[in-house]
Subunit: 335 residues, 2 copies
């Protein structure tokens, strides 16, 4: 039996819960969870904000663990390896997307906490493809948030060929944005943080930003007109996106990884003269995750985390909900 | 004096008009106009729909002409060359965009019919950079519309690296769309036309489309879900753009060259799972225009035109306004 923490309804706390995972699939692995980040998506699933939650639900999709069991066909990892597991736990491996290395866009992909149980547990399972080995030089206790928050912002940097010569912007300096700043600084870019928080304007610079701009100041945005090759937005609230399009240089891109619910309101005339693009992307593939981990090791990049012992799991969630986390919350499953 | 056709106000017909172009600039050329396409943008400027028209206005920015005079510094063309002149007639040549080959995104670019007089005339001038030589194998009488309608749709095919292996769609089969179909067929793509006109569904196939889909049929759009790598929209009316995003394959792009006035209403959730992009682009550079002309010569691509003698210029404009032009209207300035 796997010993987990589950919520029984949208307004229940997490409580001890056991389930039988059944026999291990041939290509599957079982991890002993050592730590697990808490992501805003865990809150959304806990509260059924996206409408697909089935209770009881065990959240947790920023898992670090040690491989303890492997199926008979597993070749990618071995027992004893320290690996990470993120939003996806499985993909079909044979569709056009999987065969092209885009396992993250497989139409049959399985979410680690969607219709199955996640990483707030002593053990968790996944297909071997999604268990990504952690390089020895990374601090495993901090690495969990790389598998969702980190990969979400690293993936578009790779996919859209952001260049070291680019001038880039990051909108929203939180769990995702604080990692985007670090990645882009190490990438060689000129990095600007857009934030509405005075205190974060300074913090952003310590995280790698060359400068910070008040994201809600129309005059500041007008002064930044035409400057940016790539702007990544990590916020899930509606901003004046046409004003941000105005900040783009020719051929620029405004990329959304924040889950804005309202239509973006962008106009053709904001994009046409400068050949601008607006886009969004999902989590990255396992290959991109491995690339990210190697890049983090090389450049000493890590999430800034606050660690809670798993016994304080509900306090940890409340802390994340309060908006005061700097910047990611991690559960120490062994504390 | 240059003998032209000008409108004195938004509701005036075009009438004979003379103006003195002054001394020829060192890097400028003067063309004897042999033919000139009529573009919807000419109508918009005639009627001051974009608010910047100064009367009297001489439209015409799909010019074919013979170089008759050149400034002392001109090296790119010589007297006697047949050249084309499109939406732009000048750029600064020294800004970052011009120096990168993106003269079309020069912030100081000059429009052929914006604050100066265009090609509905016996002569017209431009900077030498924007007078693009016509290959010998092209029919000069048909080539004018390539310089605005053609370049508008050819440019994004180049800029966004459309591949011969791509499955592509063209929304709107008119002056721009009928050229996009021809370009994309010759590019090697699988080409689908989206049109609301029954009669154009058949015509589209004769122009290069492998198939045609009713652009206003939600069921047909749902059947096309996930199929397209690149969709170019040439229409200036609002369609259900999220439905078209649904038609994109992973990594797909929905590109607008039609001047839709309303916000697009696209949502992050329509783009995120498949890493989709939405974009727009202006006319292409002179280098891209030259590439287009060579491609047209190689593949026997030409606008489908209806030619009017210049004496019937107001009838020609009325025909374009009626929406019945198949597909571009050209004035024969020598008839």
């Amino acid at each position: 039996m796997i010993k987990a923490y589950a919520a029984q309804s949208a307004d229940s706390p997490l409580e001890a819960f056991e389930y039988d995972p059944g026999p291990l699939g041939n290509e599957d692995v079982e991890l002993e969870v050592t730590s697990c980040g808490i992501c805003h998506s865990d809150l959304s699933v806990l509260k059924n904000e996206w409408g697909f939650t089935k209770y009881p639900v065990v959240p947790g999709h920023e898992v670090i663990g040690i491989v303890r069991e492997i199926g008979s066909g597993v070749t990618r990892v071995k027992v004893g390896d320290t690996v990470g597991l993120g939003w996806f736990s499985r993909s079909c491996m044979t569709c056009s997307q999987c065969m092209s290395g885009d396992h993250n866009m497989c139409a049959k992909s399985e979410g680690t906490i969607v219709g199955r149980h996640g990483g707030f547990a002593d053990r968790v399972r996944s297909h071997e493809a999604w268990a990504v080995p952690i390089p020895a030089g990374l601090d495993a206790m901090k690495a969990g948030p790389l598998f969702c928050g980190g990969l979400t912002v690293f993936n578009p940097i790779v996919q859209f060929n952001v260049q070291p010569t680019d001038r880039v912007g990051v909108i929203g300096i939180g769990g995702l944005g604080h990692l985007a700043l670090q990645f882009l600084r190490a990438w060689g870019c000129h990095v600007t943080a857009f934030t509405s928080s005075e205190s974060k304007m300074e913090e952003a610079q310590s995280l790698g930003a060359h400068e910070a701009i008040n994201s809600k100041d129309p005059k500041a945005l007008r002064r930044a007109a035409g400057r940016f090759d790539f702007i990544i937005s990590t916020v899930n609230v509606s901003l004046d996106w046409n004003a941000y399009l105005g900040c783009l240089a020719p051929r620029g891109r405004l990329h959304h990884v924040g889950a804005v619910l309202e239509p973006l309101g962008v106009s053709v005339f904001s994009m046409m003269p400068k050949q601008a693009s607006v886009s969004s992307s999902p989590l990255g593939s396992p290959a991109t995750a491995a690339m990210m981990l190697e890049f983090c090791e090389r450049h000493d990049i890590a999430p800034v985390v606050e660690v809670f012992p798993v016994a304080k799991i509900n306090e940890a969630i409340a802390h994340l909900e309060s908006g005061k986390a700097r910047y990611r919350v991690v559960l120490d499953m062994k504390a």
